[in-house]
């Protein structure tokens, strides 16, 4: 007995029971593509039941109907609401000039039995920030939408032309959002007493947690600082009394997007203020 939810990947179904392929294909025309091994390879591992239902214009209930006889049980807690795609074009698309949209028809690639993902990603790279890439395809490329949303696509919109043609628009972000790509050096500041006091004053006493790690044996200070930071509320800061600049900790904090201010008063007396950027 395999318990599944709307979030279960198609590939997992097929792995558990190869008969799933035919069962799903029987639901809707677009889902017949699963019978083609190449397309199956492209789609099955990237799409879950909920998404497949949307691509096929059917419902999770329908999936349930055909999969139950194959030895699957459905997890009932997961309400499988079908999100209907917005039919009206969003503003960013309506206001876009035709020249700013790069149309890319990937159907020939798929017909040749190849996976167009690489080409699409390469093509999206060439799109200028603020401009739009439109992928023309014979199904809704749900996995691609997920992937590009994590990457650099700010907005996406699927336009249904017919049940064999879908235009998916990707709006490229204006510019790189600086998250982990900020250079580490922007996060490490050596302050003098004055500038350090100024930065500490940005936080009220209630927002500041003070700890003293001077008596702890290595690597105790690091561990305490890290565990305190785990619990630190957003908008709050951690004030650390240390006896040395904890060099091994700095990179760890930089990776985690903390801003670190250090005021080295004298040997054995180092103050630090750490907060989320």
């Amino acid at each position: 007995m395999e318990t599944i939810t709307a979030k279960t990947k198609i590939s997992e179904l097929i792995k558990f029971n190869p008969k799933s392929v035919d069962a799903i294909a029987s639901l809707a025309k677009p889902l017949e593509k699963l019978k083609n091994p190449i397309l199956r390879k492209i789609m099955a591992s990237r799409v879950n039941i909920g998404e497949a239902a949307k691509m096929g214009g059917t419902t999770v209930e329908e999936f349930k109907r055909v999969l139950l006889p194959l030895g699957f049980t459905f997890d009932q807690d997961l309400s499988s609401k079908d999100e209907t795609t917005a039919e009206t074009k969003p503003d960013w698309l309506r206001n876009a000039k035709q020249v700013d949209i790069d149309f890319y028809d990937v159907r020939p690639i798929i017909d040749n039995g190849a996976d167009p993902l690489k080409e699409i990603l390469g093509r999206f790279k060439t799109v200028e920030p603020g401009k739009i890439l439109c992928i023309i395809n014979n199904f809704v490329p749900t996995p691609l939408i997920h992937l590009l949303k994590q990457e650099k696509a700010e907005e996406t919109f699927v336009e249904t032309i017919s049940d064999k043609e879908f235009n998916t628009y990707f709006l490229k972000r204006e510019k790189e959002v600086t998250n982990s790509s900020t250079t580490a050096d922007e996060k490490l500041q050596m302050d003098d007493e004055e500038s350090f006091a100024a930065i500490c004053n940005r936080f009220t006493n209630q927002q500041t947690k003070e700890i003293d790690v001077r008596e702890l044996e290595m690597p105790g200070p690091m561990q305490l600082i890290l565990s305190e930071l785990e619990e630190l509320k957003p908008e709050n800061a951690l004030y650390v009394n240390h006896k040395r600049v904890p060099v091994y900790l700095l990179e760890e904090l930089a990776d985690k997007n903390y801003e670190v201010h250090i005021n080295n008063r004298q040997d054995g007396d180092v103050k630090m203020l750490i907060f989320k950027k």
Binding site: D185, M190, Y248
Partner: protein, 421 residues
């Protein structure tokens, strides 16, 4: 508030010359290997191989370890280093002694110069031991790492003293036992006494710091200490009074148990780590430990087989696998921090500063890692097949590793302080 002892980092003269010299000598070692690949197809007691082994052990391994130990002792003991001047003196005597000794080995010019070289190295090891004892002595907190570092320093002095006696023995024979038998004892006191115990002690302090993890299984380290020393001492006594027999396999097994206890401790630390990213250092450390375990397992083959290939492979695994790999990784976990502290620790006045990892090229260390693997495999293959040409190709790859390492080390050493804003 009670006064806290800080354990200030010693001045650069106590550390940086060791790193610079070590890096250069690593390159010299690789060049020597290119020039003398046939040494790896002959008996291990040949002038050229003797030279290379001592460049590796003294100029490369011991040199870097001295620099790192001077830096780490204050951290471990939370005490300032007893004497920085002594530390500098250790560098002068070691460097001069190593150059005198190895240059006289090249053509096996026995005599006073070689003996002088050996004497300088004994002086160097004595001064180092004295500095270690004085630094750890004031540190009242007992720690197993302190024990390992102290005992390894004692073993080093023992090793180089036996080495000096061997150098004298070449000119004025006085040993009743065969020179080669004593040489085996000398080499293994160096391996299992100096290198193994130092690396055990230092790694069990450093690895938790790098990985932000801790193991509470200190008992493993006590057993590691007991077994590593027991195996070595039994081997030395048996070997000196009776001779090296098949019983070495028992002693090797005892040392191996000690190694396994230590690796179990590190594994426990690794399991409890907070820093999830597996860094290059960890990969290097893993390869290093792998080479060590393989080399110990190879001991029966070395003992029972004819020919030199297994003995040569054994030495290669230890020097180029175990010791070199750990240094290649650890250098970039210690030196950048030393340089950073030196340049930026006392900075103040609202300045943004680079991070330690920004001071060297991370990309080069990745190249270094893969080239290291290639060099080791080609070189080992050449030894197993006893093909001079393959050994030479391996040596060329080693030289590439050494160049990459040197570029990064000198990039760090020559770092100019810069403000970002």
């Amino acid at each position: 508030m009670a006064k806290i002892s800080i354990g200030k980092a010693p001045g650069n003269s106590a550390i940086l010359p060791f790193y610079a010299t070590g890096a250069i000598m690593f390159f010299v070692l690789c060049v020597l290997m290119i020039f003398s690949p046939e040494s790896f197809t002959q008996h291990y007691f040949t002038p050229h191989l003797l030279t290379m082994v001592h460049v590796a052990a003294l100029g490369w391994g011991t040199m870097i370890i001295f620099g790192a130990a001077h830096q780490l002792l204050p951290v471990i003991c939370e005490q300032d280093l007893y004497s920085e001047r002594l530390a500098s003196f250790v560098w002068y005597t070691l460097t001069a002694g190593m150059i005198l000794l190895t240059s006289n080995f090249w053509n096996l010019t026995v005599g006073w110069l070689m003996i002088a070289g050996g004497s300088l190295i004994v002086i160097s090891a004595s001064l180092y031991l004295f500095n270690v004892l004085k630094t750890t002595h004031v540190c009242d907190r007992y720690s197993i790492q302190k024990l390992f570092i102290t005992s390894s320093a004692v073993w080093l002095l023992f090793t180089v003293t036996v080495g000096l006696l061997l150098a004298i023995n070449l000119k004025f024979p006085f040993f009743k036992q065969s020179h080669l038998e004593i040489l085996k004892l000398h080499a293994h006191a160096g391996f299992a006494g100096w290198f193994l115990q130092l690396i055990t002690g230092v790694s069990t302090k450093l690895v938790p710091m790098f990985l932000l993890g801790k193991s509470n299984k200190d008992f493993l380290l006590k057993w590691a200490f007991a077994f590593q020393n027991l195996g070595l001492i039994l081997f030395l006594i048996d070997g000196y009074f009776i001779g090296v027999t098949a019983r070495v396999i028992i002693y090797a097994a005892i040392v191996l148990i000690g190694v396994i206890f230590w690796l179990l401790y590190l594994y426990d630390t690794f399991k409890n780590r907070l820093r999830k990213r597996i860094e290059l250092l960890m990969k290097h450390a893993f390869l290093s430990f792998l080479a060590l375990v393989i080399s110990i397992l190879l001991i029966p083959a070395v003992y029972f087989s004819n020919g030199y290939r297994w003995a040569t492979l054994y030495g290669t695994l230890l020097f180029m696998g175990w010791i070199t790999s750990i240094i290649l990784g650890k250098t970039f976990k210690t030196l950048p921090f030393i340089i950073w502290n030196d340049h930026y620790k006392n900075f103040s006045g609202k300045v943004k500063v680079p991070l330690p990892k920004d001071l060297y090229s991370e990309k080069l260390t990745i190249w270094q890692f893969w080239t290291f693997i290639a060099a080791f495999l080609v070189f080992a293959l050449g030894i197993i097949l006893q093909q001079v040409i393959i050994i030479r190709i391996g040596a060329v790859l080693w030289a590439v590793v050494a160049v990459l390492y040197n570029i990064n080390v000198f990039k760090l050493l020559l770092h100019k302080r810069k403000k970002i804003s």
